[in-house]
Amino acid sequence: MKTFSKLILTVIGIGSLFFIIQLVDWVAIFNPQKISKTTEEKLGELYWEIISKMEKEVKNDSITIPIKKLFNKIADKNELDITELKIHVLQNEQINAFALPGNRIILYTGLIKESENQGELAGVICHELAHIHKKHILKKLVKEIGLSTIISMTTGNGAGTETVKQALKILSSSAYDRNLETEADLTAIEYLENAKMSPEYFADFMFKMSELMEVAKELTLISSHPHSEDRTKAILDNTKLKKDKHQDILSTREWDSLKNNTYNVVN
């Protein structure tokens, strides 16, 4: 047989093997999403265990209820399932919010204080929700600390508290991949508009952050989210719902109460 015919037969052979193998529903057998979910849940618990020892959680209903109302309304308007989402408000002056593996979102009281209106706070909330729903968190961790470290953390082999703390620092303070940040911003715009909230307030917040960067570089949210000016422009460019069509989720009274109570907790 000629060499070329043998080559064609070899390629057809491998192709046929591939075709036969793909007839099996391997996703149902291996269930990679379930494996990923279990890993994320274990990691989330590990992180939360450490955070809860280091930081004080705000459990005051006058703060947590309006925050949860914001989350629920946004999720409802976007048909997002947040039944497994755990929201934690922590007493911390930093202007920061971040998502943890295992469906957890951490909000610092500093962020609530700095938000001039609920549109700004909702923008940040939508951004973090987007990171969770687009499954960015585990991707970021794998990239930053490596798959082997994550496996050793979840299985408890050889990963000490220091490793977990280091990973936690990465999650709360360092930037996501620029593409992931852009995707989260664009998704946040979609979430906000579906909830009838104008993303222009989110853009205002990002602009405020870029200005603050000049005077306070130690602020975590700023250092963790670079290119704030570019992002502000991108948000405004993609916004369809302007401020005049904006609808608040919380009543003025609820928002004022949230702000006042946050100040009272912190001060």
């Binding site: 060499t3 070899t10 093997l17 193998i21 793909q22 391997w26 996703v27 990239k143």
Partner: protein, 153 residues
């Protein structure tokens, strides 16, 4: 898949050892424990270049080892970059991905087993020709290996 030919007179002890080593070189990545598909190829290529001026038997077998590695390299590289996309980017661990990884695993396993068998047989001085690669080697080297080998003293 594999065709055995007893050469008369058989290749010398030193020749058989060198020819057999060219297959062992392609297993070096497994020994090193690296998942990078390029390592196999580099090791085999270095050995191939080192044996360009060797006897026909050694040259022929180092070429067969190299060609088999180049073919597997394409499959493995695609698997490597697809995995990178699944882990670091937004690619999904879909049925196509898992099926491809299984296919690559099977092809690598067959190649691995064939390499070991060939290395053993060649070490004994038996000329081993693989399906497709054997003919390709004959054409690339530009000689009829069996006849050439029969003249090896």
């Amino acid at each position: 898949m594999i065709k055995y030919t007893k050469l008369s007179p058989p290749p010398g002890e030193h020749e058989a050892e060198r020819a057999s080593n060219s297959y062992l070189m392609s297993l070096v990545a497994v020994v090193v424990g690296l998942p990078l598909p390029i390592v196999n190829l580099i090791a085999t290529l270095i050995f191939y270049l080192g044996n360009r001026k060797s006897t026909a038997f050694v040259k022929w077998h180092s070429t067969q080892a190299l060609l088999s590695q180049i073919s597997v390299l394409f499959l493995n590289s695609a698997a490597f970059w697809w995995t990178i996309n699944v882990v670091f980017k937004n690619a999904e661990a879909s049925n196509w991905y898992i099926s491809y990884m299984i296919t690559v695993l099977i092809v690598n396993l067959i190649e691995f087993i064939m390499t070991i068998i060939t290395a053993i047989q060649v070490r004994k001085g038996i000329h081993v020709e693989w399906w497709f690669y054997g003919e390709l080697c004959d054409q690339i080297i530009g000689i009829n290996t069996k006849k050439e080998n029969e003249n090896i003293q």
